[in-house]
């Protein structure tokens, strides 16, 4: 395969009068892990479905492994593995039967099928359950089997649509390890959509942030975070007079102040130095401060700055608490449990 693994040029998809994806341009290199970050309904899955040949673009074009997704879907399908947002499985098959069928449809010979099934089963680690019918599986086990099915034919490009939704923290970490291994050992290009900031931050070489069908930012996680300053002071305020924002904005070293509900996000070049003046400014304006936290910027701050909204409520809560993995994983587990 020559050239980038995935290219989109003004790709767009309309449903009736609504543009779910509206003119997205991407160029993803071979062997890259590209994280596509956005809240529910932002257009992540629609873009994946176009690139996987399930949806036809309404405008623009997409090239996957050099093949046009609209005009050469058969060739695209041979190059890609896909784990869609909802684990798409046949409950009446056993895990092994499902993987074997998947391998057959990709033209693998018997010995290849046996080897690949054995190998991907080491990834999903569903133990003896592999010979049980899938309707007996937990939500997390289904997700893992879904991922194994996407890998069965050793694809050079892997689309993972929210792959860790539904996984417990340990399984989630194992998937992350495997994603890195796929990239490191095989050079697999991985297009990963997620609404978990930590996941994008942890795994992606580059991150694209999508909001309402538009790509609003793109870059390495570090570069994106640098765009919002070096430090963030989060002030949770019970009573916020109108003068509070202006008061904080006038503090030396403060680069930007974003108000969202009862929170002030204060971006500063040197957060430690600005902490006390910010506290004094808030106090002076009559604000009743409940908590004041200093931290480094996250991708959520980037998203907030670009769109005026947090990526998700859970993530907002986790930044206040100073943890990230558990809150996101808890959200993932809850989501999987409800499936």
């Amino acid at each position: 395969m020559e050239g980038p693994a995935i290219v989109t040029e003004d790709i767009a998809r309309r449903f009736d009068d609504y543009w779910a994806v509206d003119g997205v341009n991407l160029s993803i290199g071979r062997g890259e892990i590209y994280g596509f970050l956005g809240p529910n309904g932002a257009g992540k899955s629609t873009l994946v479905r176009m690139l996987c040949t399930l949806l036809r673009p309404s405008r623009g074009r997409g090239l996957v492994a050099g093949y046009d997704v609209a005009r050469q879907p058969e060739l695209v399908r041979l190059q890609i593995g896909v784990a869609l947002q909802d684990a798409a499985l046949d409950d009446r098959q056993t895990g092994r039967e499902l993987l074997d069928l998947q391998a057959r449809l990709y033209g693998l010979r018997r010995e290849e099928r046996l080897a690949r099934v054995a190998q991907v089963l080491t990834l999903v680690d569903i133990g003896d359950a592999v010979d049980r019918q899938i309707h007996t599986y937990s939500g997390g086990m289904k997700r893992r089997l879904d991922l194994a099915a996407a890998l069965i034919h050793d694809p050079q490009i892997l689309f993972l649509d929210e792959p860790t939704t539904g996984l417990d923290p340990e399984s989630r970490a194992a998937v992350w390890r495997e994603v890195r291994a796929l990239q490191g050992e095989r050079g697999t290009t991985i297009f990963l959509t997620t609404q978990y900031l930590e996941e994008a931050d942890e795994l992606a070489d580059r991150v694209g942030i999508i909001s309402r069908g538009h790509l609003v930012a793109e870059g390495t996680p570090d570069a994106l975070k640098r765009t919002v300053g070096n430090d963030v002071i989060v002030a949770k305020v019970a009573e916020m007079p109108s003068a509070a924002v202006d008061g904080v904005r006038s503090v030396a070293g403060v680069e930007e102040v974003v108000r969202r509900g009862d929170e002030l996000m204060v971006h500063a070049g040197d957060g430690a130095a600005a902490m006390s003046p910010v506290a004094l400014a808030l106090h002076g304006s009559g604000a009743r401060v409940l908590s004041l936290t200093l931290r480094t910027p996250t991708l959520d701050d980037v998203f907030l700055q670009l769109t005026g909204a947090h990526l998700q409520a859970d993530e907002a809560a986790e930044t206040e608490g100073g943890t990230s993995g558990d809150a996101a994983a808890a959200g993932a587990a809850a989501s999987g449990g409800a499936r």
């Binding site: 033209g107 190998q119 990834l123 796929l182 050992e185």
Partner: protein, 272 residues
């Protein structure tokens, strides 16, 4: 989750189209495997026809048999078999696949589109023929004698099975068009006019008025006539003609039903 012992990247394989035959048998094998795992969808299809066959013989044999000068057990056996094989399909499973996304997963693979339907139909053919045999055995146990012998019996099962197969075109068309389990279940109502507005209980000569007219145009009339000929008549031109008419009726019905199913398949796999 335990540590990954063997990396799934260490065996290198090359994806390629499997070919029509492999696609077909792979899809069919999966469908056949599902059948014993969903006994509730099969057992009624076996028990109900046998129940009504025995009931009808008990209730109507003397009246209808004497009035029409027929052996009612032999006359009703084709009806029982047609009841067993009509409307049995994997269409409900197909709808489930569509709803839970598994159908999408299959269409992302290099599988050819036609086997996605034909593989299910292949499994259906095996199932309906398997359903026809126990009903046939009940008939034999009750004293039905095939005047065409073993070849006639085999042809009887095959013709019944192919009828059952072509009928599945309707539920598949509905399943693929709508993706709605309710609509697929409702398709069963088509079974009633097709089977009952015919020579189900009495010969055509005994039908009168509009029912006779409808029966004349109902392919089921000719299918039952062909099957009955295999039971009650020795091999002859008359028997061959009746069987030929039955084959034509099955073919005509199949032309419509399978065409509808293929059109629905084309619509379903055409990317929106």
């Amino acid at each position: 989750m335990t540590e990954v012992a063997v990396s799934p990247t260490s065996v290198r394989v090359q994806a390629r189209p499997a070919g029509f035959v492999v696609d077909l048998f792979s899809v069919a094998q999966r469908a056949v495997r599902q059948i014993p795992r969903e006994p509730a969808s099969v057992i009624p299809a076996l028990i109900v026809p046998i129940f009504f066959y025995v009931l009808n013989i008990g209730a109507l044999s003397k009246v209808t048999g004497a009035a029409a000068h027929i052996d009612f057990k032999s006359f009703e056996l084709p009806v029982a078999v047609v009841f067993a094989v009509t409307g049995v399909s994997r269409a409900s499973s197909l709808v489930t696949d569509i709803q839970n996304g598994y159908f999408d997963r299959l269409t992302i693979t290099p599988v050819r589109r036609l086997p996605l339907l034909l593989g299910l139909m292949m499994a259906d053919l095996a199932l309906v023929m398997a359903l026809a045999i126990p009903v046939l055995l009940v008939g034999l146990a009750l004293g039905v004698h095939f005047r065409t012998g073993l070849p006639g019996m085999v042809l009887f099962v095959v013709l019944s099975g192919i009828w059952g197969l072509v009928f599945t075109g309707l539920p598949y068309a509905i399943a693929l068009k709508t993706g709605n389990p309710g609509a697929v279940n409702a398709s069963f109502v088509l079974f009633f006019p097709i089977t009952f507005l015919s020579t189900t209980f009495v010969p055509k000569a005994a039908l009168e008025g509009w029912l006779r007219t409808v029966a004349t145009y109902n392919p089921m009339t000719y299918i039952l006539a062909g099957l009955r000929a295999l039971v009650s008549q020795p091999w002859s031109v008359s028997t061959a003609t009746a069987v030929g008419d039955a084959v034509l009726a099955v073919g005509a019905f199949g032309l419509v039903s399978i065409t509808l199913a293929l059109l629905a398949l084309r619509g379903r796999v055409r990317r929106p």
